[in-house]
C-alpha cells in the first residue's frame, strides 16, 4: 500500500544526491591512482611483481566500475519499462513492488524519476490513497524535475487529488489557472476532464452543459479509451440537469468503453447512475 509515509520515504530516497558519491568517487580515485603510477612507478613504493600488477589492477577497476554503471543503468531502464507497461495495463499490483524497488535508491535522470513518481502516484490513486498521491505530485512540481509534459500531468493530477482530499479552494484555483493557459488540445482534454469532475463534485455540472458538446469532442479526439471517464461524468451532469435521455446515452457510451466497475472505482460520483441507467452490453 502506498501510504503517505511510503510516499515521503520514496521521494526522499530517490532524490539525487549532490557531489561525487559511490561509483563516481571510486572512478575518480582509481583514475588519479593510475595516472600517478604511470607518471612515477615508485609513487606507492611497491616492489615487483606488485609494482607491475598495481597499474593493471587500477585499470581493470576503472573498466569494472564503468561496466557496472552501464549494467545498472540498463537494469533500471528494463525495470522502468516494466513499470511503464504495468501502468498502461493498469496492473497496479505488478507496478507497485517495481516502483518501490526503483525509487528506494537515488534516480539520477530527472525525467525517469518524474515518470516513476507519476507511476507511484497512479498506484496511490488506484488504492484511493489520495494524500500520498497529492504529496507525490507536489514534490514533482516543487523540484521542477521533469519535462514540460510530465509537469503538466503532475499539475492536472494534483488538482484531481486535491479535489479528493477536500482542498477544494486550492483545486479550483489550480484548475482555473490551467484553464486560462494556452494549451494544445490533447493537454486541454486532460484539464477539461478534471474540471468536469470538479463541477460534478461541487454540484455545478448541470450549469455548464453548454460546454458538453465541445468537451465530448475533446475527450473523443484526445483521451482514447479514457474518454469513457469523460462520458460518464457528462452523463452525471445531464442526470443532475434532469435530462435522462442524454444521460442514458452517455452512460451507455461510457460503459461501452470502460467497464462500470472500473468507472465507479475511479469516480465514485457515478454510483447513482449505475443503478439508474442500463449499461452497455459487452459482446466479448
Amino acid at each position: 500500500m502506498v501510504t503517505l509515509e511510503t510516499a515521503e520515504r520514496l521521494i526522499a530516497l530517490s532524490r539525487p544526491r549532490g557531489g561525487l558519491r559511490g561509483s563516481s568517487l571510486i572512478l575518480l580515485g582509481l583514475s588519479i591512482l593510475l595516472m600517478a603510477m604511470l607518471a612515477d612507478p615508485d609513487v606507492l613504493g611497491l616492489r615487483p611483481p606488485l609494482r607491475f600488477l598495481a597499474p593493471q589492477a587500477a585499470f581493470l577497476g576503472i573498466v569494472g566500475v564503468i561496466l557496472s554503471g552501464i549494467a545498472r543503468h540498463r537494469r533500471l531502464e528494463r525495470w522502468a519499462f516494466q513499470v511503464f507497461e504495468a501502468a498502461l495495463l493498469r496492473e497496479w499490483d505488478r507496478a507497485e513492488p517495481l516502483l518501490v524497488r526503483l525509487l528506494s535508491s537515488p534516480v539520477r535522470h530527472p525525467q525517469m524519476r518524474a515518470e516513476l513518481l507519476l507511476g507511484l502516484a497512479s498506484v496511490a490513486e488506484a488504492q484511493q490513497e489520495y494524500s500520498a498521491a497529492q504529496r507525490i505530485y507536489e514534490s514533482i512540481l516543487g523540484d521542477q524535475a521533469g519535462d514540460p509534459l510530465q509537469l503538466h500531468t503532475a499539475r492536472v493530477m494534483l488538482a484531481s487529488a486535491m479535489l479528493r482530499t477536500g482542498q477544494l479552494t486550492d483545486a479550483v484555483a489550480l484548475l482555473d489557472r490551467l484553464a486560462r493557459a494556452d494549451l494544445p488540445e490533447p493537454l486541454k482534454a486532460q484539464v477539461e476532464l478534471i474540471a468536469l469532475l470538479r463541477e460534478v463534485i461541487l454540484g455545478q455540472a448541470q450549469d455548464n452543459l453548454a460546454l458538453a458538446d465541445r468537451r465530448r469532442r475533446l475527450f473523443r479526439d484526445h483521451l482514447g479509451t479514457r474518454a469513457g471517464y469523460g462520458y460518464g461524468l457528462l452523463a452525471a451532469a445531464y442526470d443532475r440537469a434532469d435530462q435522462p435521455d442524454a444521460a442514458r446515452r452517455l452512460w451507455h457510451d461510457a460503459t461501452l468503453l470502460i467497464r462500470p466497475g472500473e468507472l465507479l472505482q475511479r469516480f465514485r460520483e457515478l454510483e447513482p447512475l449505475a443503478g439508474k441507467y442500463p449499461e452497455a452490453e459487452m459482446a466479448l
Binding site: A39, L88, D213, R216, H222, G224, T225, A227, D253, L284
Partner: protein, 278 residues
C-alpha cells in the same frame, strides 16, 4: 523528391555510414600501433607515452559521445517539428543531421528511419520503400527499435500500395522477435490490415479479447481503426453481435469516414456507422 534526389540521399547515407566505420577502424588500428610503439620506448618515456595515449583515447571517446548526444538532440528537434506538422523544417533538420559526421552509425540509422517516417507522412510511398530497404541492408538487427519500426513502416506502406505478399515478407521476421507491449501496439493495426487484405479474417479475430485490450491502449484514431478492422473481420465471418459491438466502439473513438478513405478495407464498417456519436 525526384528519383535522382532520393538516390543521392541514399548514396550520402551509405557514404556517411561507411566513413564512420572506416574512421573507427583507423582510430582503433592507430591506437594499437601507438601502444606497441610506446611499449618499445625506453623508461620512463614509455610510461609517459602510454599515459598520454590513455588520456588521448579517453578525450577522443568523450568527444565522440558528446558529438553523438548533440546529433541526437538535433534529431529530437526534427521529431518535434514533424509532430508539429512542420514537415519542410523537419526534413531540412534531418538532412542537416544526416550530412554531419559522427563516429556512431547508430545515429545515422535513427535519422534515416525518421526520414522514412517523414516521407510516410508526406505519402511519398516509393521513397519510404527505398529508404526502408536501404536501412534493412544495414546491420540494424541489434537496434531492436529501429529494426522493428523500419519493418513495420515498410509493411504499412506496402499494404497501402496493395503489395500484400511483399508486406508479409517485411513483417514476417517481426513474429520471431521478442515483442514488448509497445511493439505489439505498433504491430496490431498493420497485422490486422494484412490479415484482411489476404482474406484471413479467421486469423484476425483469433485472440479477440486480447486484441481489443491492446487496442484500448492506443490513441483515439489508431484505436478506432483497430476496432473497425476487427469489426470488418467479424462481418466477413458473419458474427453480427461482435461486429456491431466493435463498430459501435470504433465510432466512439473517432470519425471513421476519413480513416476509411485511407484504409478502404474498413469502408463497409464506416458506411454503416453514424459519422458522429451522441
Amino acid at each position: 523528391m525526384s528519383p535522382s534526389t532520393i538516390e543521392l540521399l541514399v548514396r550520402g547515407f551509405r557514404r556517411s555510414v561507411a566513413a564512420a566505420r572506416a574512421v573507427r577502424i583507423l582510430l582503433t588500428a592507430a591506437f594499437c600501433v601507438l601502444v606497441i610503439w610506446a611499449l618499445q620506448l625506453p623508461e620512463p618515456q614509455a610510461r609517459r607515452a602510454l599515459g598520454l595515449l590513455v588520456l588521448g583515447g579517453l578525450v577522443l571517446w568523450a568527444g565522440a559521445i558528446i558529438r553523438s548526444v548533440r546529433l541526437t538532440r538535433e534529431l529530437q528537434t526534427g521529431n518535434m517539428l514533424m509532430a508539429m506538422g512542420r514537415l519542410d523544417d523537419a526534413e531540412a533538420c534531418l538532412g542537416r543531421v544526416l550530412r554531419r559526421f559522427s563516429l556512431s552509425p547508430q545515429v545515422k540509422f535513427l535519422v534515416f528511419q525518421q526520414l522514412a517516417a517523414l516521407f510516410f507522412q508526406r505519402q511519398r510511398h516509393d521513397d519510404v520503400v527505398i529508404v526502408c530497404h536501404e536501412l534493412l541492408r544495414q546491420p540494424i538487427r541489434r537496434l531492436h527499435g529501429v529494426w522493428l519500426n523500419t519493418r513495420l513502416l515498410l509493411a504499412d506502406v506496402l499494404l497501402l500500395e496493395d503489395r500484400v505478399a511483399e508486406a508479409y515478407g517485411a513483417m514476417r521476421p517481426v513474429y520471431d522477435a521478442p515483442l514488448t507491449l509497445t511493439d505489439r501496439m505498433k504491430l496490431l493495426p498493420i497485422q490486422l490490415r494484412y490479415e484482411l487484405a489476404s482474406n484471413h479474417a479467421e486469423s484476425a479475430v483469433g485472440g479477440l479479447a486480447e486484441k481489443v485490450r491492446i487496442a484500448e491502449l492506443l490513441e483515439s484514431p489508431a484505436a478506432g481503426l483497430v476496432h473497425a478492422l476487427l469489426a470488418e473481420a467479424c462481418r466477413r465471418l458473419s458474427r453480427p453481435a461482435q461486429q456491431a459491438f466493435l463498430a459501435e466502439r470504433a465510432r466512439l473513438y473517432c470519425d471513421l469516414a476519413p480513416i476509411a478513405r485511407r484504409y478502404p478495407v474498413i469502408a463497409p464498417i464506416a458506411a454503416e456507422a453514424p459519422a458522429d456519436p451522441g
